[in-house]
């Protein structure tokens, strides 16, 4: 990951998160795919986040996790809870998105044949995240990687 990208996105949280989980997500690992999102969902239910917000975060985290599995060379999914917001941050090591605007369009997908056969790659991932999150910040450099920061207000 490009150091400038990292600092610009990750070092701006003013409050130290109370809950912080980092999940390593491997590329093309369909065996564990979805487990991180499942853990996140369970934690949210236990801390008593209202169920509508749990639903939105669950959808977004699942899509974000799947994006790492299907499209990236692998990366980290970070789950942060502060008293005022919940953040999901994914950081991968490539290949990067050449045209973010295009990638945010419904129906657009670069998923591999293997992934499509498994029912992924309908081109709804990023749009789905966008629809459910309060803010989405995405930065990418081809050959470097992508950082996606999804924020939900509590």
């Amino acid at each position: 990951m490009h150091p400038d990208l990292s600092t610009s996105l990750c070092n701006n949280s003013e409050v130290e998160p109370l809950i912080k989980h980092a999940f390593h997500i491997s590329a093309n690992d369909f065996v564990s795919a979805g487990e991180a999102s499942q853990k996140i969902k369970n934690i949210l239910k236990q801390i008593g986040v209202n169920s509508e917000l749990v639903r939105r975060i669950a959808i977004a985290s699942y899509e974000a996790e799947m994006n790492l599995v299907i499209h990236s060379n692998g990366g980290e999914l970070l789950f942060l809870v502060t008293p005022s917001e919940i953040q999901l941050i994914t950081e991968d090591t490539g290949p990067g998105i050449p045209d973010i605007e295009l990638a945010m369009k419904e129906g657009y997908s670069t998923a591999s044949q293997q992934a499509r056969e498994l029912g992924f790659g309908a081109g709804m991932g990023l749009p789905n995240i966008q629809r459910n999150a309060d803010t989405v910040d995405i930065r990418s450099e081809v050959g470097q990687g992508t950082i996606l920061k999804i924020t939900f207000k509590i």
């Binding site: 109370l18 809950i19 999102s37 499942q38 969902k41 934690i43 239910k45 236990q46 801390i47 008593g48 986040v49 169920s51 509508e52 749990v54 639903r55 669950a58 959808i59 699942y62 809870v81 008293p83 789905n128 509590i154």
Partner: protein, 449 residues
């Protein structure tokens, strides 16, 4: 019938039989059981009466409380409401009327098939499916254990529930209405008793999920009534033509029966509560919005796999399938649908509310702090999920510690670690002599110098 307690449960523990093993705590889908002081304890707020613990307990220490057969005598007129499952309990049964006649001989004045209620409910669900913008998939509200599971673990999906009353409730109303008109007797003098394959239904009668009270007055376990029916069949019964339900209604006893009765293709039916949970997770993650209907049944094979049934669930399932095929075209069609809609409670009235028992604290900031504490404890535990502490997993023990209902020393590995540390400390202390005495170790060392 109305409950006086906030939490009524049919599933209870026979303390004398409980050995304090870990079978039930491991199997419980809502982590509602702990072993404390050598005995299992059910956490009332969490229990959904699915009966998994009844099925898994090797000592038969988990039981379902149902009404004794004698309870029917509290009413002047008695109606039996046999669950469709009952008809799958007997070998080579060709005619449902045989079972109904055997029930009459036991002392019921009238027998009304719940399968007939199911026929009506199927029509009502079909109408629900046509409502535009109804949340999809529509989730069946037939299995009370699944509805309670959703209340506890999937509150997001409460608005997907189809909220049509169960065949049992509809049948009870139809039966009482019919009987009171037929014989000119007041409804209050009629008692309707469900012949039940499961504990969850018993709980629904005492403590209905979306209504103030049930139209059913009691539930008798299939296991309790199987013997009397069998002996009546042996001694001979006067067969009357009482059977009216369709094969589709009867098939509600088995997985996909309800879905098939709706005449739709785009449905998913899943049985066994441990199988239902991951599918509900998928629906919650919005990955099944293209599906029209979801039927989730707590027991394997459907109601035929209920904990209060006598026959092997799969054997019974096959019998229901054959019987349904047999009676398919002989059905004497159902009561006027508009009459039911006008005169009976066919919709779940009250809001089905969330039961947030998983929450660590009412205050979210406190809950977050507790979660952080929970994670820290969890990391320090061995992660074997052995259950020796009485909690189903290490993580649940961490949760129990945070909630103040367990301590870290309940973990035998933690305890052993502590004992070892104490022992080391003791050895260390034993080697220390008062300063005035010659130090043994030092003295010896001197010899070698």
């Amino acid at each position: 019938m109305k409950s006086t307690k906030e939490y009524y449960h049919s599933v209870t523990l026979d303390k004398d039989k409980c050995m304090g093993c870990t079978n039930c705590i491991k199997r419980c889908p809502t982590e509602a059981i702990r072993v404390r002081d050598g005995k299992a304890r059910i956490i009332d707020e969490r229990c959904i009466d699915c009966g998994e613990c009844i099925l898994v307990c090797p000592y038969h220490a988990k039981i379902a409380v149902t009404d004794p057969l004698s309870a029917i005598n509290e009413y002047r007129y008695k109606i039996a409401l046999p669950a469709p499952t009952l008809f799958g309990q007997f070998k080579n049964l060709k005619d449902c009327n045989m079972i109904m006649a055997a029930l009459m001989k036991i002392g019921f004045d009238y027998v009304f098939e719940v399968a007939l209620g199911a026929d009506v409910v199927s029509e009502l669900i079909k109408e629900k499916l046509k409502i535009p913008d109804i949340p999809k998939p529509l989730i069946s509200s037939a299995c009370p254990a699944i509805v309670r599971l959703i209340q506890v673990r999937f509150p997001n999906l409460l608005n997907h529930l189809c909220r049509v009353e169960s065949p049992m409730e509809v049948a009870a109303q139809m039966a009482k209405d019919e009987f009171s008109k037929l014989y000119g007797v007041p409804i209050e003098e009629i008692g309707a008793f469900f012949i039940t394959p499961c504990a969850a239904k018993m709980t629904s009668i005492r403590n209905p999920i979306g209504n103030e009270s049930s139209h059913v007055d009691g539930a008798i376990s299939i296991l309790d009534i199987y013997g009397p029916i069998a002996s009546n069949l042996k001694s001979g019964v006067d067969v009357e033509d009482l059977h009216r339900a369709s094969g589709a209604g009867l098939s509600w006893a088995i997985t996909s029966g309800e879905s098939n009765s709706l005449k739709i293709d785009n449905y998913l039916s899943v049985d066994g509560i441990q199988n239902v949970i991951p599918v509900l997770e998928e629906i919650e993650n919005n990955r099944m919005s293209d599906l029209d209907f979801f039927e989730g049944l707590s027991c394997s094979g459907g109601c035929v796999g209920g904990p209060l049934t006598f026959e092997n669930g799969y054997v019974a399932k096959n019998r229901i399938r054959l019987l349904a095929k047999e009676i398919q075209n002989k059905s004497k069609k159902i009561m006027n649908l508009s009459y039911v809609k006008k005169n009976m409670n066919w919709q779940i009235q009250k809001n089905i509310i969330e039961k947030p028992v998983l929450k660590l604290d009412e205050n979210i900031v406190m809950a977050i702090q507790k979660m952080e504490f929970l994670e820290r404890i969890n990391k320090s535990l061995p992660g074997l999920d052995c259950g020796s502490c009485g909690s189903p997993s290490c993580r649940t023990l961490a949760e129990d510690i945070v909630r103040g209902t367990a301590s870290e020393m309940d973990c035998i590995f933690k305890l052993r670690e502590k004992v070892r540390n104490l022992a080391e400390e003791m050895i260390e202390l034993s080697e220390k002599m008062p300063a005035g005495r010659e130090q043994k170790g030092k003295g010896e060392n001197k010899l070698y110098e």
